[in-house]
Amino acid sequence: MRYDRVVSAALPFAKRTLANGLDVIVHEDHHVPVVAVNIWYHVGSKDERPGSTGFAHLFEHLMFEGSEHHHAGYFQPLQQAGGLVNGSTNTDRTNYWEVVPTSALELALWMESDRMGYLLPAVTSERFETQRDVVLNERRQNYENRPYGMAMMALLAALFPPGHPYHWMTIGDAADLRAMRLEDVHAFFRAYYHPANASLALAGDIDSARAFALAEQYFGDLPAGERPPHVTASASLAREARTMLEDRVEMPRLYMAWHSPAMFDEGDAEMDLVGDLLGSGKTSRLYKTLVYDQRLALDVSAYQNSRELSSFFLLAVTAAPGQSLTDIATVVDSELQRLAEDGPTVAEMERAAAQVESHFLYRLQSVGGFGGKSDQLNAYNVLRGNPAYFAEDLERYRRATPDGVRDTARRVLRFDRRVLLSVVPRGQQALALSGSELVPVA
């Protein structure tokens, strides 16, 4: 890849592993008097089983409700200390973070360590049931009551067979959530929430030596758990599958999905670039053709959804009023064909390089929060075993060549191995691609 190496972006750190297996990573940045505390547990919905989905995400809620030595909500003391607090769960991992003034660092470490070591005495059936209701509300608000909100569920179900860890949504099945028992919740915690399955990153206005000493003080005496087995699974498509959903929407939307290289595997960065050149900005091929020139569509998105076990590449196009998904599919296919045959242009590669270089630098602006420096260090540590992977990550993109992008696109974006999902307004199944099978979703 030709590139204009505009910056020397770097994310320096120091790492130690405590005797109980907890990785501790420290990054100093003294610009603002705050410290980011970030913990990754290597557990996500991939560690659940069919019939008992939604555990990892429900935990994200329970972890804020109290622990043995602080038998009350976690938000109050942290907000009183001026902290910003949040967490998230996906298929692969769960993260929790606080951004606190330097004066409240010990408070954040005390609380994170207490819920890592001593959560269960505080997980009462009353708290469990309330948070289950909150999650069911979250599910209704973010999926059931949102246009196209059930599409991802249908896509995952079609891409991954029942039993594959990516077959279900992280939010969980509503029936599974209702059937969940408190003792199952306790067992899940014991298996996954302990030092040997976690990584702690501290980034901000702190001295490294003090950071390691505090990590030892608060986390050092937590018992080491057993490192859970590494989940493996494989999935493939043998044909083109055509499915459809009815939804409360005005305009039909077409989704196309393919299996693609797992996160950080060969071809993952190339598919990321493919996503940009197909769907990012007005210059992208699909936007320019479908929205700008032919006005068949209202919007276009295309991206590599990088995941630990197996990724998928997802493309979505919303039809303009009166336009057909069939016509849209024809245009998309001809663009995919052109990409697979000719690859990207030099201009496209230059543009992509400029974007990659700048966005790696933008990622260094915040110590905390989702995607901040502490979160990145943990991501690289948990998923690559190497917090220094930032530089190598950037190199993956710098090494990409037009031929490499073309070959990867050709290998991944096959017409005979993909899922096509038409989401159509209620009662208008005729607007779906021909041969689409209606899928039930709950």
């Binding site: 209701d133 509300n137 209202l298």
Partner: protein
């Protein structure tokens, strides 16, 4: 040393915090420039605040300010819309336009080494947009289609209806995107005229924050924006007065959404303008009531009752009178209970259960101790400084924030709650399944629910 788990660690003294120096400049054409040195990462952020937003839309042309802002990156000089997108990408730039009620904000972030090119591109876009007919007709159609899609989005339906219920025909009574009728009737010539009278150096402020010296930042700004001609144009008329927004009584309004799994709920009334001397007391009061996770409303509706994924309150600040609102998306079956509990909380903070000193301390601490993290990136800093220009606040505002909040007393919090929160004249809006929620809402004793179309 082992952790003492018998009690939570004490919080240390608050670390010192100083907002970076803001230097003011006026270019020859009257453009106000603010520079801030921010050296963490070699990045520069430009924020241009144009004095004129959705409230400047003429009647019958609701959406004009927004479509004008949207046209800004659709071409300039010899560059087509596609060329502009390409130029931004080649600078690795992030570009964004935001249309508020009172002002329109353009933001461009790029690498320091591209600062001058980024500034020039932003100036070309904002001051000399091409505004061609084909681009206009495409952009207008996309906005019309977007308006159609918004009917499916319960929160968007709630926002639009709530503003209309609050302000009626007043210029604040519509979303920036406008209405289908008005956008459909808008012409390219009207966009050009709006741009000419609104986008003027004397009615704009440029904030530049980045890893350069003040002198360098000013020089970059001047080279890019110094030639922007000030072609007169009239000063926008002040908005018609809104009055105190008093309604005779409470009411319930339902926007039907058949079979909806959740009810999108808004409760509120007109309250007070951003420049009120009670601003800090209102922030503290709101933090107790519904401004953060541990506030009363969220603890009641989410943590105690499990009705919702989250509930909060706030003021949708403007230069003129802003509404107070409570918002949540609640389980359909819990709708009436959620409304009753919400109104009870609004009532309680006014008298039966005023903010306690413990609640006050929690609210103040969370507002003040976490304050420095709002100014970590150049973009955060630049956007904050633009807010000073929007509301005519002094450059010392950020430095004074913490002591001013600390000075708020329990009595002041009670006073502002009594003065500005009033469930007896609140409008309750529910976007939800009419068949399921109408009877229970009617039984709350707030009158028969009115039904209005989306």
């Amino acid at each position: 040393m082992r952790a003492d788990r018998s009690r939570l660690p004490r919080i240390g003294p608050d670390p010192a915090f100083a907002f970076p120096e803001i230097v003011r400049h006026t270019l020859g054409n009257g453009l106000q420039v603010r520079t801030v040195e921010h050296t963490t990462v070699p990045v520069v952020t430009f924020v241009l605040l144009v004095d004129g937003g959705a409230a400047g839309d003429p009647r019958g042309r609701e959406g004009l300010a927004a479509i004008t802002a949207d046209m800004v990156d659709e071409g300039t000089g010899g560059l087509t819309a596609i060329d502009v997108s390409d130029a931004l990408a080649r600078l690795g730039a992030v570009y964004d336009a935001d249309v508020g009620a009172d002002a329109t904000t353009f933001m461009l972030m790029t690498l320091s080494r591209f600062a001058a090119r980024g500034a020039t591109l932003l100036a070309d876009l904002v001051t000399r947009p091409a505004l061609t007919e084909p681009d206009f007709s495409r952009v207008r159609q996309l906005r019309l289609d977007r308006l159609k899609q918004m009917k499916d989005l319960a929160p968007a339906v709630a926002e639009r209806t709530f503003l209309r219920l609050m302000y009626g025909d007043h210029p604040y009574g519509h979303l920036a995107i406008g209405t289908a009728d008005a956008v459909g009737a808008t012409s390219r010539d009207e966009v050009e005229a709006f741009h000419r009278r609104t986008f003027r150096p004397r009615a704009a402020t440029l904030v530049v924050a980045g890893a350069h010296t003040h002198a360098e930042l000013l020089d970059i700004a001047d080279r890019a924006f110094g030639a922007w001609p000030d072609e007169g144009g009239e000063t926008p008329l002040p908005h018609a007065p809104i009055g105190n927004g008093a309604r005779p009584g409470a009411r319930i309004v339902i926007v039907p959404r058949e079979g909806a799994a959740q009810s999108e709920m808004r409760i509120g009334h007109l309250a007070v303008a951003r420049n009120t001397p009670s601003y800090h007391a209102l922030l503290v009061m709101n933090a107790v009531l519904g401004g953060q996770f541990v506030s009363r409303v969220n603890m009641k509706l989410r943590e105690e009752k499990g009705y919702t994924y989250g509930a909060r309150t706030g003021f949708d600040w403007r230069r003129g009178i802003a509404p107070f609102y409570l918002q949540a998306s609640v389980h359909t079956a819990a709708t009436a209970d959620a409304v009753r509990d919400s109104l009870a909380e609004l009532d309680a903070i006014r008298g039966s259960r005023p903010a306690s000193s413990e609640e006050l301390e929690l609210a103040k601490a969370s507002l003040t101790r976490g304050y420095p993290r709002n100014f970590e990136t150049a973009q955060q800093v630049a956007r904050s400084v633009a807010q000073l220009a929007l509301y005519g606040l002094p450059d010392t505002y950020f430095e004074e924030f913490v002591p001013t909040v600390h000075a708020v007393t329990v009595d002041e919090v009670s006073r502002v709650a009594q003065q500005y929160i009033d469930p007896a004249r609140a409008t309750t809006l529910v976007v939800g399944d009419h068949a399921a929620v109408s009877d229970p809402l009617g039984a709350l004793g707030l009158g028969l629910p009115q039904v209005v179309p989306p």
